[in-house]
């Protein structure tokens, strides 16, 4: 099949899957089979695109002209390829996990859950493959809207207020900041098609105008959770854990940092940004977010909240690395999208498994839990080590490159932030692992075993992937290097 057809399939398959899920709502087993089949098909389709992209092809699919000169179109380049691979591959694992979680916890409205999930993946594919800023913006907004029912899944007062913050921050930033940024880009450059070297490189903007526009973009892309527009992410944790795991550790937040990298590389162009000095403020904001979010994570006892703030911090790694504008650090930013994904999804899976098996949600309740749930806590330990950046876990790979990138850019404060946050990561993850395995269980804890097997299987798969990724890093590295142009 041609690249254009595969791109069309990558968009249509999850959307059609959502429709089939809705139709199969009365038969839960059939419905879950549809989800799994859709996820598998989507991954196969995305894999089918990989050889061409690695060989230097840029398959494209132009659909229609929405406004004069502005098309809805898709073109796949290495950065989008990596993001699409990560999101679609982890969707399979996450679907297996969802089945265990949703049934294990007796959740309601499961049909809506699976249908919205598939739609969210369709929007994610659109984000990954968009060929211009307008298409990206369209899919970005769609992603916000279709994940809102997932965030408010429980329908209670807590879900309602969480949903309000979620929607308020994400739609608020994208309409109030991102949309004017997009329109300004159009007015200045006369095109919105992503181009190597940047479409604003020759637009003749002054460096202060570029800095202002970059700020509109960076804070307008609320999904990247740069402080102070990060509040939606902890609020989204009211969702069922599979949503937090795939969407709010992988698809949605990565759509944010993916857009950040895309804007820096293909809209502004690293060279013109560096020449204008327009991005010099960004490492400071990202560095502040990294440290501040880590400190909040350290102080949060609720496990999912701690993971959420850890995500806020890790997302800013990507922003920081991209903002350094050195080729090596851009490649590190791209790679971190993949390595953080596998580690963080494992951690969320473990948090969900603990909740399903024991009903526990706080980090301080986990004394001795490793003896009853060795697999779960083993996976948690792997994820934690990856986020800290301990070899051979995946996180080491991107963190190492980030250090190198910061060093090559000669950016001392960035190096310091990276080192400090590594310590903070260890400080908020290792005590949990320590307590789980080395402390005695508290008295009065009800007896329990492991979570249902689909959850364990999914957790084992992502933990194994976290360990294996550095040994099979050729493909992600090649894509990251190609995206960074090195």
């Amino acid at each position: 099949m041609s690249g254009a057809q595969l791109i069309a399939l990558a968009l249509v398959v999850p959307a059609a899957g959502a429709a089939l899920v809705a139709l199969a709502g009365r038969w839960p087993n059939l419905r879950e089979a549809v989800t799994l089949a859709t996820a598998g098909t989507l991954f196969a389709v995305v894999l089918g695109l990989l050889p061409g992209v690695l060989a230097g092809e840029r398959p494209e699919l132009m659909l229609l002209e929405m406004l004069p000169g502005l098309a809805i179109g898709f073109r796949l380049e290495p950065l989008g390829m990596l993001f699409a691979l990560v999101a679609s591959g982890l969707w399979i694992v996450n679907s297996v996990y969802s089945i265990g979680y949703m049934r294990g916890n007796g959740e309601e409205n499961q049909t809506r859950f699976y249908a919205c999930f598939a739609l969210a993946l369709a929007a994610t594919m659109g984000v990954a493959m968009a060929s211009n800023v307008l298409t990206l913006f369209l899919c970005y907004e769609l992603l916000t809207l279709v994940t809102w029912p997932l965030v408010t899944h429980h329908g209670d007062a807590e879900a309602r207020s969480g949903g309000r913050v979620y929607l308020g921050v994400l739609l608020g930033t994208s309409i109030a900041l991102l949309l004017p940024a997009v329109i300004t880009t159009w007015a200045a450059a006369g095109t919105l098609e992503f181009a190597p070297g940047g479409i604003l490189a020759n637009a003749g903007l002054s460096s202060s105008a570029m800095a202002g526009l970059l700020a509109l973009y960076m804070f307008g892309i609320g999904k990247a959770a740069l402080m102070p527009v990060h509040r939606w992410l902890p609020s989204a944790m009211v969702a069922p854990t599979p949503v937090s795991a795939l969407l709010h550790a992988v698809a949605v937040v990565k759509a944010g940092v993916f857009t950040v990298v895309k804007v820096i590389v293909y809209v502004f162009g690293t060279e013109s940004l560096a020449a204008a000095g327009a991005a010099e403020w960004l490492p400071a904001v990202a560095g502040f977010t990294i440290v501040a979010a880590s400190i909040v994570a350290l102080r949060s006892d609720n496990l999912k909240r701690r993971l959420a703030y850890s995500t806020v911090s890790q997302l800013s790694y990507v922003v920081l690395a991209a903002a350094l504008l050195a080729p090596l650090s851009i490649a590190a930013a791209v790679l971190h999208i993949a390595t953080h994904a596998v580690g963080k999804i494992t951690l969320f899976f473990a948090a969900g498994a603990i909740y399903t098996a024991t009903g526990k949600t706080e980090a301080s309740q986990l004394d001795g839990i490793g003896r009853r749930m060795p697999w779960t806590m083993g996976a948690f330990a792997v994820g934690a080590l990856s986020l800290i950046g301990v070899p051979p876990a995946a996180g080491f790979l991107s963190k190492w490159m980030m250090f190198q990138g910061a060093a090559s850019a000669g950016h001392g404060p960035a190096l310091a932030v990276l080192a400090l946050s590594t310590l903070l990561n260890a400080a908020y993850f290792l005590p949990i692992v320590h307590a789980a395995f080395l402390r005695a269980p508290r008295e009065g804890d009800a007896a329990h075993g492991e979570a249902p097997w689909p959850m364990l299987a999914a957790m084992a798969a992502t933990a194994a992937l976290t360990i294996a990724l550095p040994f099979a890093a050729a493909v992600p590295l090649a894509l990251a290097r190609a995206a960074a142009g090195t």
Binding site: L64, E65, M66, L67, P68, I72, L134, F137, L138, E141, L142, L145, P149, T152, G155, A159, R160, G163, R164, L167, G168, L171, G172, I175, A176, L177, L179, P180, I183, T184, W186, A187
Partner: protein
Amino acid sequence: MTFEHLPALQVAVPLVAAPVTLLLRRAAAAWVVTVAACAFAFVAAVLLAAAVAAQGPISYALGSWAPPWGIEYRVDALSAFVLVLVSGVATVVAVFAWRSAAAELPREQLYLFYTMYCLCVAGLLGMTITGDAFNLFVFMEIASLSSYVLIALGRERRALLASYQYLILGTIGATFYVIGVGMLYLATGTLNIADLAARLPQVADTRAVLAALAFVTVGVSLKLALFPLHLWLPNAYAYAPSAVTAFLAATATKVSVYVLLRFYFTIFGAELVVGGLPMEEVLLVLSLAAIATASLVALWQADLKRLFAYSSVAQIGYITLGISMASPAGLTAAVVHLFNHGITKGAIFLLLGGVVLRAGRAGFDRVQGLGQRMPLTSLGIVLAGLSLIGIPGTAGFVSKWYLVLGAIEAGRWWLAGFIVATSLIAVAYVWRFVEAAYLAPAGPGTPERGEAPPVMLATAWLLVVACIWFGFDTSFTVEGARRAAALMLGGNP
């Protein structure tokens, strides 16, 4: 029937349909005649729009009396665009009325509803197509008088008061308009719009012309509900029968906007209105006030029809904001939003008609849990609401794009910021509905499970689909609006 008489038939067919429905005295027969007349008008409007796009403006001398002595009907890029909107919405709403009007009106008055509806359609189409300023006044009165009756047909007694309020203010508006036209006649000796445009420059700096501009502005602003002259609108929309609310919200204020555009840019000309007089600033300030206050007031309404009525006042503010820019992007935004807001609000009020039918009212207490009970209706309101906000992929986004582009091109950053910031208020009031429909448990007043009748649902969804369709395929809307904007800024035709 030949093509050359199409401009006359455009108005004549719905006008003649009105007495026919009166003679038939049977609701079903009256409905068939009304739908047929509206559908004919729609086909005629589409044909005329195609002809105008292909070969330029069409001039039709009524009764073969050559203009400027006889009455001229004139179809150009701007009026063709508005004709398509009015006749299209009229057709959809006419089909919708089959069940909606039957449920809300007494049986013995039903055929009279269709009589008034045909008159109103004819009046609005006439206002749009005529090339004669006094003839425009006549059609304005036909449309206004029939709409007073239509509003008064509402079920609650408060509809009478709402209609009376509108009658008083509408009559003042029409009077101001006709005084303005009289002054223009005094100064130029003609009533033909093209002729007025040609003769006005010689007398442009006389006091009579400036007074005429002021009278026309106030008169038309009353009809289009420009803040602070909008006070008649929320009650009229809230208490009128559902079909009437949808029709008036989608078309009546839009045709008044058209009249304003016609006077400002064709008759007086951009040079006088924006260059010589501070109309730009006046319109800008009033638009900003309309958007901000009406959006905020909408947020606190307990009834959805009132909420979206106030939202209409705000959205009209966006249209006049585009006019105040007087730039290609600004006028394109104004004209395209006139269309996009028309179909969006039409869709919402039609869907609310279904809610009123099932729940008795469209209060927030009646829509709790609506997502479960009327899933298609709720989804439709959400999708049209997204268009109201201006989410990409909907018609409203296209309008917002040009509006913000106009502000940025003019270097007015604060204005771009204002436009997007006020869109967020729309997010808030649309999401009030979403939370009530999907997250609130069903209350005692909420209807039993069951959708609106298929006819109502289908017609409403036709407009919902249009909201999405025109968010992606903008060849008709944006091209039409750009041509209209070029026409208006290109000097006198």
